[in-house]
């Protein structure tokens, strides 16, 4: 009888420990998200400008840690979205990983980078939603190396509500919405950047005179 109790106790302890671990992991507020979705092609008429887009490693393999418990891998997704968006802006375009690879015909060199990623959860914002902000910077240079502008491009995404499958699923949804917003912002505002607008006008004038 005693022997039976001794052999049963470790098993019971094992099950209790397992249940406790499961319960604790279920309550954990950490989230690790990798965005693997595909983004649609943009519907826009590109301008005949020869442009090189420099996706350096820090951008194409970008991983954010907006809070100590949240890890966001957005590098691949943002490269795909930016490729789609830039194809809607320029008719002649090359994507390069280093400045050495830029072709001679290039008129503009654009280097996107991420300045910051922020997230907000229902416990932070007292709303029923998860929110993600990604702050991009576009360094726009001429072929001569003259900086036209550094364009700060904040984008935003949120969930419809917080009743999603998990915190990870909610953050993934909000991040995808934010990355899609980057495409919308680029197509809508790129040629409205004063420095870009002036440069394009001057190029057109040169072509007309030449």
């Amino acid at each position: 009888m005693n022997n039976r109790q001794i052999t049963a106790n470790p098993l019971a302890q094992y099950w209790v420990t397992l249940m406790l671990l499961l319960a604790i992991s279920g309550c954990s507020s950490s989230a690790s998200v990798k965005i693997n979705t595909t983004f649609p092609q943009v519907l826009a008429e590109p301008k005949p400008i020869n442009v090189a887009i420099l996706f350096n490693d820090s951008f194409s393999a970008y991983q954010a840690r907006p809070t100590k418990n949240t890890h966001l891998d957005i590098g691949t997704a943002q490269v795909q979205l930016f490729k789609n968006a830039f194809k809607g802006l320029f008719s002649e375009i090359e994507f390069v990983a280093t400045a050495d690879s830029i072709g001679e015909q290039t008129s503009l060199v654009i280097t996107p980078s991420v300045r910051e990623v922020q997230i907000s959860t229902p416990s932070d914002n007292y709303l029923n939603i998860f929110e993600v902000w990604i702050k991009y910077n576009l360094e726009i240079k001429t072929a001569d190396g003259e900086t036209l502008t550094n364009w700060f491009m904040p984008v935003y995404g949120k969930t419809p509500d917080s009743f999603m499958a998990s915190k990870s699923a909610a953050i993934e949804h909000a991040t995808i919405t934010a990355i899609r917003d980057a495409g919308a912002k680029l197509i809508l505002d790129f040629y409205r950047i004063p420095a870009v607008y002036d440069w394009v006008s001057k190029q057109r004038l040169k072509e007309d005179l030449g």
């Binding site: 519907l43 826009a44 709303l127 419809p160 509500d161 899609r180 197509i187 809508l188």
Partner: protein
């Protein structure tokens, strides 16, 4: 005396039960506006696209409601293009940042040949914007449940109101004009009675709003 009291008790119980059950029915109000009484003609090769408004800060028209309304309209043999398919095909022009809020912006958007061609390609003739949300209000009461070696049970009473407010606007993408709009307000109270087992008496407020929206939108169109 005893018999009279029993009758009164039964009557009171019946009244309470009736009032609780009648409380479970949603009250729905429909406001409909159309510039003409003629039905909107929809050819067999034309579709409508149902889109939810996503640009409000405090709420976002949920996809569940849009899918529900779409299924009601499809049941009337009207072809409905899936919301995400339409948004992806026209990307990025119907994202929260870029979606036209009014007809002047839509007219400018459709001046872009690529956008117009894609809408024609998708055979979308009418766009229906759905905007609104369902909110829980006035929660009161409490219910507690306990479990012990001898069994378990719940005791208490809780109630809450739900209010669904949705607006639908129909745009003609060929004539670039508004063909009608309607607003659905649906309200009802739900109860949870804890009498050993928890007994939910839920009012299908959102479902009523969906049914009304689907039925009314369907009545706008005549398929040919």
């Amino acid at each position: 005396m005893m018999v009279e009291l029993s009758h009164n008790s039964i009557l009171a119980l019946v009244l309470v039960a009736l009032s609780v059950l009648s409380g479970c029915a949603a009250t729905t109000t429909i406001d409909k506006y159309r510039p003409s009484t003629e039905l909107i003609a929809l050819n067999s090769n034309e579709k409508i696209a149902l889109l939810g408004r996503r640009d409000a800060g405090h709420h976002e028209t949920d996809r569940e409601f849009i899918n529900c309304v779409a299924s009601k309209i499809k049941a009337a043999n009207i072809e409905v293009l899936d919301e995400q398919t339409f948004i992806n095909a026209i990307y990025p022009w119907f994202e929260p940042r870029t979606a036209p809020r009014g007809l002047p912006r839509l007219k400018r958007l459709l001046q872009q040949p690529l956008v117009k061609a894609e809408i024609n390609q998708q055979a979308v003739r009418y766009l229906v914007w759905l905007d609104g949300s369902t909110e829980t209000q006035d929660q009161s009461g409490s219910i507690s449940c306990a479990i012990g070696p001898g069994g378990g049970g719940c005791l208490g009473f809780a109630q809450w109101n739900k209010l669904s407010v949705y607006e639908g606007i129909v745009w003609d993408l060929h004539l670039l004009e508004e063909k009608g709009r309607l607003r659905i307000d649906s309200e009802g109270t739900s109860y949870l009675i804890g009498a050993v087992a928890p007994i939910p008496l839920l009012t299908p407020v959102k479902s009523d709003a969906c049914n009304s929206m689907g039925t009314q939108l369907t009545s706008f169109f005549s398929t040919q």
